[in-house]
């Protein structure tokens, strides 16, 4: 019910937005500057609402985050599920899961004050000029935040792979690593994909880290060391400050919101289907 309510209000506001800005401009426009730029053809209307840079920023930062979270999270999951002695497991698992409980503002500070300057310092040492706020800094820290999602879910999934499959592999003379890579991992893959998709939707929805560490400038760039912005950040940006409620600027927030909503909904549904079909396979 609530979901439906949110969805309907978003749709309603989006329709009002599209009454003022052509949908094609929104989806394919390369410039996003709701505050400043004036469109000559639409006197009195402010801003340019090409959402491509915003979408690409989200994609870039999510990509960096998953690049960090997936390998580390998987390694932790495999270690916990297959190699860690029971006592180690009992200690490591809660410690990793603690990462998920850290407020995102704290991650934001970490990105802004530690990771960002570190990346800049490193880049400068290599002879490049890089801003403190960058997609890499935000993405990397977001990746750390997502590690427990990946590791915890994957660990569960790996544990759910029936022991009989491992026994079958061992009985054929497979070593531990052969069993892990060629039997357990493929068997757990659908569940791991599910964990990955949930991680992605978590990354897409994350706001605070990006506000603090990646900036608000909607740069259209393929360079991850540039400052970038994401859908969520722009929603916050256009809604803060005094605005008429039905200006396209404000309404654009709802349109961004609905896009975000639809994308994460699809991701979550796919993840659920994948995980469920995986469960069915063994019961």
């Amino acid at each position: 019910m609530t979901t439906l309510g949110i969805f309907l209000s978003l749709i309603f506001e989006s329709l009002r937005f599209f009454a003022q800005v052509p949908p094609l401009d929104f989806l394919t426009g390369l410039q996003w500057s709701p505050q400043t730029a004036m469109r000559e053809d639409q006197a009195g209307q402010s801003g340019a609402f090409g959402a491509v840079p915003v979408f690409l920023g989200t994609l870039m930062i999510t990509g960096v985050a998953m690049l960090v979270a997936l390998p580390i999270g998987l390694m932790i999951a495999f270690y916990l599920a297959e190699y860690a002695p029971a006592r180690m497991r009992a200690a490591v698992k809660p410690a990793v899961e603690l990462l998920a409980g850290v407020p995102t503002v704290v991650y934001g500070y970490f990105a802004l004050l530690t990771v960002g300057p570190a990346i800049r310092g490193f880049a400068e040492a290599m002879g490049f000029a890089v801003p403190t706020q960058s997609a890499v800094a935000a993405g990397a820290v977001m990746g750390i935040m997502i590690i427990p999602f990946i590791s915890s879910l994957s660990d569960d999934v790996i544990n759910a792979v029936p022991q009989s499959l491992r026994d079958g592999a061992y009985a054929l003379g497979a070593t531990k690593s052969e069993t892990l890579l060629r039997v357990v991992f493929p068997a757990a893959l659908p569940g791991i994909v599910g964990a990955f998709l949930l991680g992605v939707s978590r990354a897409i929805g994350e706001t605070m880290i990006v506000v603090m560490a990646a900036g608000r400038a909607a740069n259209l760039s393929a360079n991850p060391f540039e400052a970038m912005t994401t859908v969520t950040v722009q929603i916050v940006a256009v809604l803060t400050g005094d605005q008429e409620f039905d200006s396209p600027k404000t309404l654009s927030a709802f349109t961004l919101g609905i896009t975000l909503f639809v994308v994460t909904l699809i991701l979550n549904v796919i993840a659920l289907i994948v995980v469920r079909s995986y469960r069915d396979r063994y019961e």
């Binding site: 499959l165 026994d167 009985a171 003379g173 039997v183």
Partner: protein, 286 residues
């Protein structure tokens, strides 16, 4: 070394017929036949943590034919079966002592790699456990990890040959790419046998391989076992007396972690020497 109870039971029995060796009553007629032994077990004990599940088993498993392990639930049949391919090594807390010679070489000696041993001693489990891969990949898995095929053609040949030996080829030759988990229970069990055969083992261990199968699939499996015994040493655990009688040439009866009686299947079923064996096969215990 000699087990007290076995000794007591032997009292009053003609020693020309039976001799007590380490707790087991060995059939002299069988011993006389001087069959080549594939495995020679002496004083095999298995502990799970502090609990002893097998109390010193002496047994010579013949090279040819099918040896059946029978006995009531929890008597240690599966535990003993896992001694032969060192699968007990994969169970946390399990410890094996005593000596087990395979073709004269101690498989528990230092320097013996259980991984290589398991390529020589295949195993089929109670519940069919095909990997969630295609039928082809299931069979090809072993040859791949052991590098048995130099080319795709060779691998194809191994897969086909193994499926034929497992009497499954005709049923699956047109759908090798389909998942192995999609086969019926009986087909899955034969797939798993093909998977084991593909690494060219000398021995195949089977732990209640038919317990999840219907009578028709069971009959097919028994036919297959009868066929396989020409080329492999087979050790099978079963809860079905009838099955043991049908498929095996030797039978070993276990009770509470002891090997009570071991000898020709026919002799065990028609003329058991130990009261416990008799009670079990006539259905009074277990």
């Amino acid at each position: 070394m000699v087990n007290d109870t076995a000794l007591k039971l032997d009292v009053g029995r003609k020693f020309s017929e039976a001799a007590a060796v380490g707790g087991a009553v060995i059939d002299l007629a069988a011993a006389k036949a001087e069959e080549k032994a594939k495995f020679v077990c002496r004083g095999v004990r298995v502990h799970y943590g502090a609990k002893e599940a097998l109390h010193g088993v002496d047994m010579d498993v013949p090279d040819a034919g099918v040896t059946a392990l029978i006995g009531p639930s929890g008597c240690g049949k599966s535990t003993f079966l896992r001694v032969f391919n060192r699968m007990n090594d994969t169970i946390p807390g399990a410890r094996v002592s005593g000596s087990v010679l395979m073709d004269g070489a101690d498989i528990y000696a230092k320097g013996v790699d259980p991984v290589l041993l398991r390529a020589r001693v295949g195993m089929v489990f109670q519940k069919p456990n095909p990997f969630p891969k295609s039928i082809y990949e299931n069979v090809a898995y072993g040859p791949r990890i052991h590098g048995l095929a130099a080319s795709r053609g060779e691998l194809d040949a191994i897969v086909e040959g193994s499926l034929k030996k497992a009497a499954l080829w005709e049923e699956v030759k047109d759908r090798l790419k389909e998942p192995g988990t999609g086969l019926s229970g009986g087909q899955q069990q034969r797939l798993v046998i093909a998977r084991a055969i593909a690494v060219r083992p000398e021995v195949i261990l089977m732990d209640e391989p038919a317990s999840a199968l219907d009578p028709i699939a069971t009959a097919r499996l028994e036919e297959l076992i009868d066929e396989l015994r020409k080329n492999y040493c087979i050790i099978i655990v079963t809860h079905s007396m009838a099955q043991a009688a049908r498929v095996s040439q030797k039978t070993a009866f276990f009770h509470l972690g002891d090997l009570v009686e071991f000898g020709d299947t026919r002799a065990i079923f028609t003329n058991p020497k130990d009261q416990r064996t008799q009670d079990y096969i006539t259905g009074r215990t277990g």
